[in-house]
């Protein structure tokens, strides 16, 4: 006889506000086999878990149903609690009445009814649950970091420090990411390159780190501890192992009219190029869209001047397959495209720039050698207007609903740097709010206002109009003084919102990880597991998870590394005991299951059977290797006799759920 306990969680008001939890507990107490049914405010808390544990001991329970949040959230918590109370952890079932009920429904009556049905289905299933014991699977002692910005570099360095091999896959020809483009960093105003480039070099020299630059992830298979990843090394038409990075080819290349991505298109580079002087790896790359040799077959100068013989116009994309135990995603961010913001005349006027473009304009290695000049006429600007929240905190479809977080601080930095270097320049900043949480951040902003006399004006810029005399007319409102302003600026700088890199979504699909509607990766728990994804073995580092400044990014990168190291130090991880098994008495030996198994977990053996008529027959039957089986269940449907079944999701369990729901 089954002795089942039902535990209904309020989740504070997350569940209890929409679902009458008492009624759920009361109704489920009348289900067959249920001998105890309770509700509690926070079932996942220690006292909530104790409630479950005590009930298991007191009532000698044979099954537990917890009506709470998603099993993806706390199934393990309750399984562990059951185990510590002496109940096999696989005798616990979760009814998801939060994500799939209270959070999506508003009507209390119907939400409660649905919660009861979901609870009944879980009770019906747990009746048929069998105790299971988990096996173990080995962990590949190698990590993959996707993205070679400061987040990826930091994660890789930390993992390497712990003695594990790490591969960095970076889609650009060099690692460094956005931080390499930045001039100075807030709130200390130290130079970004001075702190980043040593780390890039360190990464390239670390014996545990392999950098795959100009590469992408093309396929991910496997599971925690044992991922198989295919990396596409895009053809750069230069042999990485031969190129010495001397740069002679880039000097001699006749095609010099290629917009320079690294300088945000503010100047040009050659068709064969090294993105910047401190690039890692310092290897040239040919841009086949511009290279004369690739386009017309006439030129070949780089090949002639390269003493190392590194140029290879016929190079093909290469695919490398590698096994990893852990994967860290560090795909970072980009400023949004401003095509839809014609009111700021971004596409109409070269002197309206984004903040990242301003970084390059002010950078000593930038297009003007560090002298701030207007892109249009290379004159010194005397009046600069900064516009905040361009596309951030936007409730229309043009922009992003979230705060991009970094813009307030970098704008204060820009304003301060300009005032410091060019005291004759007036600087205006139009803002909605100035947000400066962070160590020494508010002090920094106040210095900009108080010491450097930057004009901070609360209000939005309505229209930016380039004038024929080269000035830019900025129409804005000052909300505090309640007046309309016209400023004849020389330059306008837009603090464009940031968004996740475009490669993130296809990557999330390959990794089977969650993303939010803005394409930021979703962490496993917003408070408690901020650097793990919900998919085991996949960790999140940096701005791919949400907007972040450099200190936060580095902190999260190291945290992700720590989590990955925590996985890699294990020799094996407990595997999923929910694997397929074959009832040999019913197996026909037809091989259907073997054909559909993606893991090759099924083999056939000839086995002796004592038949009912007392004869002995040798029959061919399927045998599942539980260490290899991952529990997808493809075989269970391929099997016509129903001999193949899946632990934890058996035919009868699922049918019991169907029946309970359809009753």
């Amino acid at each position: 006889m089954q002795r089942i306990g039902v535990f209904v969680c309020h989740c504070g008001t997350n569940i209890a506000a929409t679902i009458d939890v008492k009624a759920v507990a009361e109704t489920l107490s009348k289900e067959p086999g249920v001998i105890v049914s309770q509700d509690y405010q926070y079932m996942c808390s220690e006292s909530g878990q104790n409630l479950v544990k005590n009930a298991i001991k007191e009532h000698n329970l044979t099954g537990v149903v917890v009506c709470s949040c998603s099993p993806r959230m706390h199934e393990n918590t309750f399984r562990k609690a059951a185990a510590s109370a002496g109940l096999n952890p696989y005798l616990v079932e979760i009814a998801n009445i939060r994500e799939q009920c209270s959070w999506i429904h508003k009507d209390i009556a119907s939400a409660t009814e649905k919660a009861i049905i979901l609870g009944k289905a879980a009770v019906a299933k747990v009746h048929l649950n069998a105790p299971l014991t988990a096996g173990e699977s080995p962990v590949v002692k190698r990590a993959l970091v996707i993205g070679g910005g400061i987040a990826g570099i930091q994660t890789a360095l930390d993992i390497a420090e712990a003695g594990f091999d790490v591969d960095i896959v970076e889609k650009n020809p060099t690692i460094g990411g956005k931080m390499a483009q930045i001039d100075k960093t807030f709130p200390t105003l130290d130079c970004a390159a001075c702190i980043l480039t040593p780390k890039m070099v360190e990464a390239s020299q670390n014996e545990h780190i392999t950098i795959h630059s100009f590469s992408e992830i093309s396929d991910v298979k496997g599971f925690v501890g044992n991922f198989t990843v295919t990396i596409k090394k895009k053809a750069r038409f230069v042999d990485e192992t031969k190129c010495t990075g001397c740069g002679l080819c880039t000097e001699k290349c006749p095609m010099k009219k290629v917009p320079n991505e690294f300088n945000m298109g503010l100047d040009n580079r050659s068709a064969i190029y090294i993105p910047f002087a401190q690039a890692v790896p310092k290897v040239a790359t040919i841009d086949p869209n511009y290279c004369m040799m690739m386009k017309t077959g006439k030129c070949g100068i780089c090949s002639k001047v390269c003493s190392a013989g590194a140029i290879d116009y016929k190079q093909q994309d290469q695919y490398i397959e590698q096994k990893y135990g852990a994967i860290v995603v560090a795909t970072g961010f980009n400023p949004i495209n401003l095509d839809k913001y014609d009111e700021f005349a971004y596409n109409q006027c070269p002197d309206v720039v984004t903040s990242l473009e301003l970084e390059r304009l002010m950078n000593a290695a930038g297009p003007n050698g560090g002298t701030l000049l207007r892109p249009s006429d290379k004159t010194h600007p005397h009046k600069i207007v900064f516009v905040q929240c361009v596309g951030s905190r936007c409730d229309d479809s043009k922009g992003k609903p979230y705060c991009s977080k970094i813009c307030c601080m970098y704008t204060a930095k820009h304003a301060m740097l300009i005032r410091e270097k060019y005291p004759d320049t007036e600087v205006y900043v139009f803002y909605i709010d100035v947000r400066t949480p962070g160590k020494n951040f508010d002090e920094f902003y106040r210095r900009a206002v108080e010491q450097y006399n930057v004009h901070y004006i609360k209000g939005m810029v309505g229209k930016v109009t380039p004038r024929s005399d080269g000035k830019i007319d900025v129409q804005a409102s000052d909300l505090l003084a309640n007046e309309q302003l016209h400023i004849d600026a020389d330059m306008v700088v837009l603090a464009a919102a940031i968004e996740p890199d475009k490669t993130a979504r296809p990557l999330a699909t390959m990794l089977t990880t969650q993303m939010d509607t803005n394409d930021f990766f979703t962490e496993a728990h917003p408070k408690l597991r901020p650097v793990e994804s919900a998919t085991a073995g996949i960790f999140l580092s940096g701005a791919c998870q949400g907007p972040k400044d450099i200190p936060e990014t580095v902190a999260q990168a190291s945290a992700a590394a720590a989590k990955a190291i925590g996985l890699l130090v294990k020799n094996s991880i407990t595997c999923n005991p929910c694997v397929a098994h074959s009832n040999e008495l019913m197996c026909n030996g037809c091989s259907s299951c073997e054909k559909v198994c993606p893991y090759g977990a099924i083999t056939y053996i000839d086995k002796e059977f004592k038949m009912p008529d007392r004869t002995v027959a040798i029959r061919r039957v399927a045998s599942v290797n539980p260490a290899v089986c991952q529990g997808c269940g493809a075989c269970t449907v391929a099997c016509p006799s129903g001999a193949m079944d899946l632990n934890g999701f058996s035919n009868s369990q699922i049918i019991a759920e169907v029946d309970a729901i359809c009753k």
């Binding site: 049905i117 089977t512 493809a634």
Partner: protein
């Protein structure tokens, strides 16, 4: 299931969701508070390829008005290839049900990733509407199971 006061037909819909993509997508819809009708009752399976045609027919037999099967997008199956088998199996099964004269809009396969909470909610809204239009399932149910 009759809960609405105004007696509008409320279909019962069983949704089989794979643990890795669609169930996570459903959770995401919840986390983002994206509403979809309470007609939808989700059953979690490890992979869409775990769904046996028997489960679908059983649901109809016991009075479900619609069955939707959600899995990872083709090529993204957590188990590499499970959803490709699902696709063939369900194409043939649905074609057979259609052949037997069962209204074809009562069955559906949708690929919903873990990141597509909004798609999950939209799909469920749309599917519920489609089944509502068809009215109660009379062609597949077992009369003994009909509620008095």
């Amino acid at each position: 299931m009759q809960v609405n006061e105004n007696k509008e037909f409320q279909p019962l819909i069983v949704a089989f969701c794979c643990n890795w993509c669609s169930y996570a997508g459903a959770d995401l819809a919840g986390t983002n508070r994206l509403n979809y009708p309470d007609n939808i009752k989700i059953i979690r399976v490890p992979c869409s390829c775990r769904v046996n045609p028997m489960f679908i027919l059983r649901a109809f037999q016991r009075g479900a008005d619609g069955v939707i099967l959600c899995g990872c997008h083709p090529g993204d199956c957590h188990y590499t290839s499970g959803n490709y088998f699902t696709r063939r199996r369900m194409t043939l099964l649905f074609s057979m049900l259609d052949f037997l004269g069962i209204e074809r809009n009562r069955t559906r396969v949708e690929w919903v990733s873990a990141a597509e909470g909004a798609k999950f909610a939209a799909t469920m809204n749309e599917f519920t509407e489609a089944v509502k239009k068809l009215g109660p399932n009379r062609r597949l149910e077992d009369l003994r199971c009909r509620k008095q």
